[in-house]
Amino acid sequence: MPSTLSNPLRLGLRQERVIPPQCLIIFGASGDLTHRKLIPALFELYLQRRIPSEFAIVGCARRPWSDQDFKEKMKAKLANQISENENEWEQFSNYLFYEPVDLQQSDHVVRLSKRLNEIDKLQATHGNKTFYLSVSPNFYGSGCKALKAAGLLDDPKKSRIVIEKPFGRDYSSAKKLNQIVQSCADESQIYRIDHYLGKETVQNILVMRFANTIFEPIWNRNYISSVQITSSETVGVEDRAGYYESSGALRDMLQNHLTQMLAVTAMEPPGKFEPEAIRNEKAKVLQASKLADENEPWNCCIRGQYAKGGNSQKRLKGYRDEDGVNLNSTTETYIATKVFIDNWRWQGVPFYLRTGKRLPKRLGEIVLTFKDVPVHLFESTIINPAPNQLILRIQPNEGATFKFEVKSPGSGMKSRPVEMEFSYDESFGEPSDEGYVRLLADAMLSDPTLFTRSDEVEAAWKLYTPLIELMEDAPWKLPIQKYESMTWGPPESDQLLSKDNIFWRRP
C-alpha cells in the first residue's frame, strides 16, 4: 500500500509554465461546456498555482446575469468539485466577471470592449486577451467579425481566439470559415481546439516515437501490417440530441479526434519540437491520407445506429427513441472506416478507425499490429499465430501494452503471447490533467503546438469528403446498420476487417 497519496519528493519539483497576466473571455458562458469543462479546468490551474494574480475570466452570453449571478451559478454547478477547496474557490471567484453580450449586436460588442478595458485596469492584465468561442458553430464566423470590428483582435501579440470543434461541416464550409477567421485575425492568433490533443497519452505518442530509438525504425510499412484507432463511448446521445442529429459520429468524432490520433501516429518526425514543425508534419500526413476506396466509399465504411439493449436491470433506449431525436433519424452513432496513407512510410498499410456511442466500454486506443515472422519455426505459432501488437491506451488506464511471443515453461517448445505493460498509474501514481487544463494554459501561453492549423482542419475534412458527399447524395449506398446497445457496433463493421483477414481488437 502506498504510504502517501503523492510522492513527497515530487512536490514542487515540476516547474510548470506560468500563464502571463491575462483576461480570458468566454462566449457561451451560460452553456454546458463552460461549467463542465472550462471553469473546472481554470480552477484546476488556479489550484496548481499557475494562474497569475493579474487575471480575469469574463463570462459572456445573452442571459442578463450580473458578475455575482455568474459566480453563484458556477459555484452551484461545480459544487462537487469545490467541496474540498471552498476557500480556494472563494479566492478564485474574485477573477470571475460577467457581461451580457449578443455577439450579433455591434453595440453589445462595443460595450464589452469598454468593460474589458475597465477589467484590464482593475486586474492589471496588461491588455492580454484570450477569446474563447464556446458558442454554436454557426456563430464562429460572425463572432470573429464582431470582435474584429470592435478592434479586439488588432494586436496579434496580445489577443488570441480559441475556437471549439466542429470547425465547419465539410471541406468547403471549413475552408470558407478559415477564410473568414483569417480575415479577422492572423493565423498565429487562432487556436482551433481539439481536446484529444490535450490528453497526456496522445502527447505521449510523440514522446514514445521520437524519444526512443527502438520504435521509429519499425514504425513503417516494412514492419507494421495494420493500425486500428478506436474511440468508444458507453453513453448514448444524452441531452445533446439537437446538436448530434445534425452532426453524427463522423463530424462529432471521426473527422477531428480520431483523425488527430491518426496524424500523431503516422506523422514523420519533425525537425524540431516546435509548433510549426509539428503542425507541418501533421498536415502533410493528413494531406497524404485517403479513404481506402474513394470511388466507391461504401466499400470502406460502415455506419451504424444504436438500437435498444441493456439488460433486465437496465433497459436502454434505441437512438431513435431518445428525446429530441427524429423517429426516422439516419444520423450515425457509429462509424468505422478504412484509410490508406499515400507516402513512403505507410504505403499499403490499412488504418482502421472506429467510433461509436453505446459500445460496451469507454476507451480510446491505438493498436499497431506488426507483420508476421517470415518463417514459423514453432508448432504453436504455425497453428495459432499471434502477431506482435503495440497497444497505446489513450483512456482509461492510460499506458501501453506490448504483446509478444515467449516460450511456455516445459520440456517442449510451445510458445504463447504475453504482455509487457506500462501504466501511467503504476509508474507515476498521479492522475494526469484533463485535456482542457493543458489546452487552456497553452492558448494563454500562446503555444499553438497542440492546436490544429487551418491546413490540418481542411485536410481532415477533405479526407472524408467522398463519404460526406455519399451520405448526402446517395445515402442508400451507405445505409445505417442497427446495432444493439452495449455491443461492439454492427456486425458489418467486423466484415470491413475480415475481408483483409484482420479482426477488431476486443479490448
Binding site: M1, S3, T4, N7, P8, L9, L11, E426
Partner: protein, 433 residues
Amino acid sequence: MKPQLTLQTPLELPHQEISNYLNQLWISEDEERSGANTFTLMVWQPAWLEQCLVKSGLISGPITGTLSPEIIKIAKKLIIDKGLSHTTSIYSEELLILLKENLSNNDFEDFRGQFFESSISTLNPRRLITLAPTLNKESEIKTFVSAYCPLSENTITQPICGDLVVIRGDSSSINQKGLKIIDKLSIKDLPTWLWWNGNLDESQEIFNYFTDQGIRLIIDTANGSPKRCLRILDQSIKSNKAINDLNWVRLKSWRESLAMIFDPPSRRPILDHISDIDIDIAEGNFLQALLLISWISDKLKWVFSKIDKHGELIKIEFKRNNGDKISTCINPVPLGNPSIHLGQVIGLRLISKISEVPKNNTCVILGCESVECMRLEAGGMADMQLIEQVVPNAFSSSEFDVSKLLGSSRGNTSPLFENSIKVAVQIFNSFNK
C-alpha cells in the same frame, strides 16, 4: 549555442554622458523602436583566469568573459604542470597566484560585455550592464555603450532591441565610481537581475551594494566559501529578496532522478523507512551536498538532530516524527578529472530498512556514472533490493543555466530552495557552534 557579438563596436563615452546617450538612442519618430520591454541584466564578470592566461601569453586574446573549452583545457593542464593537487579548481586562488607571477604589462583587447550567449540574447534583455574588473591596478573607469538587436530565426517578427553598457576598471574604481554610474542606469518598471559570475568571497562591498538594492540575484555557491555563501543565502531569504543559485540549479537532475524513483506508488513505503543516506562529492566544497540533504529532509519532514565532522567526512543525523534515527554522510572523494565547479555531487546511496533480513530492505543508488553506482554498491548492498539509476549530466554552461533562470523565474526564490536553505543554515550553524 555560440555567443553573439554586437554588430556595432561599443562606443567609449565618458560616464557622465551615458544616460543621455541611452535616452537619445530610443527617441525616434518610429514608435516601434522603443526597445525591449523585458529586464535589465547586470553581470559581474571578472574572468580572472582568462585575464591571467591572456596576459601570460598562454592563450591569445581578446578577453571575452566566456569560459571556453580551450581555457578549461589549458587551466587543467597548468594545474598538473605546476604541481598543484589534481583536485584543484580552475577557479582556485592558488592557480591565479601562480599565474600572476608572469604577467606581461601589455594591454589586450577586452571584449567582455560584448559577448553574450544566444540563449540569453534570445530573451531580449532590455539592458545588459557588464562590470568588468581588470587585473591592472589603478586602472581608471572606462565606459562603453552600444545598441544591439538579436537576430531572430523568425524573420516575420521585427527584431527586439536593447542596449548594453560595459563598465571597465579595477575593482576599487568600480566600487567607488562604477556603482554610481549603475545607479543612473536603472530602468524604472523593469526588473533587474544581477548575475555574480565570480567568487562570492571577493569584492564583497560591490556585492553588498547590489543586495542592498533588492536586485534579483543569481549566484553560484560552488564558487565561494560555504560560510559566506550560506550567509548570503540566509540573509536573502530573511530579507525576502529573490535569490537563485546555479549550484542548486545543477542539482536539478539529482532531485528529479531521486523523485522519479519514488513515482510508482508501490515504492513510496520505502521513504518511511530510510535509515542511511551517503552522498559522495568531489572535493573542495560540501555546500551542494548539504543543500541536497536539506531538500530531502525537508520533503520527508525529518528533524535535524546533530552534526559531526570526522576528518573530511561530515555526518549529519536527523529524526523522523516516530523518533527513528536517520544517519547521513557527506563523503568528499578525490577525482582525477573533477568538474570545473567545486564539490559537485557524484553519487547518492539511500538505504531503507524494514527488516533484519537484508533482502527485504532496499538500497537506492544514484550515480553520475555507472562506475560510481558500482562503487556505491560495494559492501553488501547487492544483498538488498537494488534500485540503481545513472543521473543524466546536463553539461550546460553557466550562461545557459542563467538564461533558463531568467526565462522561467518570476523573480521570487523557489520555495523548494528557500526551505532547503533554512535547513542547511540550521545544520551549518550547529556545526560552527
